[in-house]
């Protein structure tokens, strides 16, 4: 399996934070990885990652697919290299989990995290996979019911993994909902989802790249499920408002990836995210709505 990373971030004592990073992760780290960077405008390359500045105590996080621009980046290689330096690797697989087969053992990642709402499930719940030996060695992070086995005035014995990490009343309804989402995805089949989204993303790239005044971010890269773009002369928030009025829902902004945006020299982009419920007519509707926005703003590519 080819899986790539969108980014990495790191633990607090030693940061490795490539630019493709999700901002919520970068906050955890203090230092940025200088070896992994956006080489030039709209192009993500991995440079000199043969010497990642990692220590045995650090945990590095990587996205499989960059959430802001949809590029696939090489996860397996980063895991391998990080391991040669004694680092632990946490994969942020939110974008990959609903559309790719993921084998955490084959990847040999130490941790893998994903959220329910990125896989057609409920918000507020997610999954953290970890190697059992690592989880066993970790202390609980929160106190509450179920995380202890036995408590006396003298001594507290914590429950076993995973219960020691699940203090208090669990998110029961969220868990049931997430289970339904897993069944739903498994029922369709990740291979079918992958093929569908790969074809649809390709169609979207073809359509958008032929439109005057429209520029895809990360053009030429292997991408998946996300089309991030700029329309000349129209700010992403104006564009999003107009697309919304044409019943096309997109996200405009920095996608919680401000360091990447800064690197690309962009304040914001407009991002269309594709899912199993989308088809080519949605891409066509997006293109029509972009043309309508260009008409309002009197920009190149507009009908008037």
């Amino acid at each position: 399996m080819r899986v790539l990373i969108g980014d990495a971030h790191i633990s607090n004592d030693l940061g490795a934070a490539p630019d493709v990073e999700h901002r919520s992760i970068i906050r955890i780290g203090h230092t940025r990885v200088k070896d992994l960077r956006v080489a030039r405008r709209h192009d993500i390359r991995i440079h000199g990652f043969t010497r990642p500045p990692l220590r045995s105590t650090s945990v590095s996080g990587d996205q499989v697919i960059a959430n802001a621009i949809g590029s696939l980046l090489p996860v397996e290689r980063i895991i391998r290299l990080a391991h040669t330096r004694g680092a632990k690797v946490l994969i942020d697989g939110c974008q990959a989990i609903p559309r790719m087969k993921v084998d955490v053992r084959a990847l040999d990642c130490d941790f893998y995290a994903f959220s329910g709402h990125k896989m057609y499930g409920p918000s507020g719940i997610g999954v953290l996979y970890g190697k059992l030996a690592l989880l066993d060695a970790m202390p609980p992070w929160q106190g509450g019911g179920d995380m202890i086995l036995n408590v006396t005035f003298e001594k507290t014995t914590y429950n076993e993994t995973p219960h020691k990490f699940e203090a208090g009343t669990p998110d029961i309804s969220g868990t049931i909902g997430l289970g339904m989402a897993v069944d739903y995805i498994e029922g369709i089949g990740r291979e079918r989802i992958f093929d569908h989204e790969e074809a649809l993303t390709g169609y979207g790239v073809d359509v958008l790249s032929q439109m005057p005044g429209v520029r895809l971010i990360g053009a030429g890269q292997r991408r998946f499920g996300v089309l991030s773009f700029e329309v000349e002369g129209i700010h992403p928030h104006d564009l999003a408002t107009i697309l919304d009025q044409h019943k096309v829902a997109v996200r405009a902004g920095h996608h919680c990836a401000q360091p990447l945006m800064d690197k690309l020299g962009l304040a914001a982009t407009t991002r269309a995210s594709l899912g199993i419920y989308n088809d080519e007519s949605d891409i066509d509707a997006l293109a029509d709505a972009i043309r309508a926005a260009q008409a309002i703003f009197g920009r190149p590519g507009s009908a008037r």
Partner: protein
């Protein structure tokens, strides 16, 4: 809601060709306005002569709405007194949020009418902050003087 009610010609004109988009050397007052959710940034510069706004300008990056709002604001505020500017600020904010507008004197009616096109944001609640950001930065500049304070929408 017709999109042309939001993107009226005056908005598109000021959004694409903003007036007074420049820095003022040695401003007596200035402040920054940030919308962290969308990344829009604006800096408002003032040159006060006593109680009167002798010059006002802005720099920054933003959408058509926030750029047009800043541009129109600078045109209207130039020459106004602090009291007049404050009245317009309150009336404008009320107009955009649909709350009760304060009474304003006849001498400011024309100015408030010029801001009417921006009231199209009322139908797009998420865009109200775009239209108020430059005014909030102006308010911060008046209060903060040369401190260069920063106000955020969130």
């Amino acid at each position: 809601m017709d999109l042309r009610d939001l993107y009226q010609d005056i908005i598109l004109d000021h959004g694409q060709h903003p007036r007074n988009k420049r820095a003022i050397d040695h401003p007596s007052h200035f402040a920054h306005g940030n919308n962290p959710l969308c990344g829009d940034k604006v800096t408002i510069y003032l040159k006060m002569e006593g109680e009167r706004i002798a010059d006002v300008s802005f720099e920054g990056r933003g959408c058509a709405i926030s750029t047009a709002a800043a541009s129109l604001m600078t045109e209207i505020l130039k020459g106004k007194t602090v009291v007049e500017a404050d009245t317009l600020l309150r009336a404008y904010t009320a107009k955009l949020t649909g709350s009760a507008e304060p009474e304003i004197g006849a001498e400011l009616t024309d100015d408030l009418d010029r801001l009417e096109p921006l009231s199209g944001v009322r139908a797009f609640p998420i865009r109200v902050k775009c239209a108020t950001l430059p005014w909030r930065a102006f308010e911060a500049a008046l209060k903060g003087g040369a401190l260069g304070e920063t106000v955020k929408t969130e």
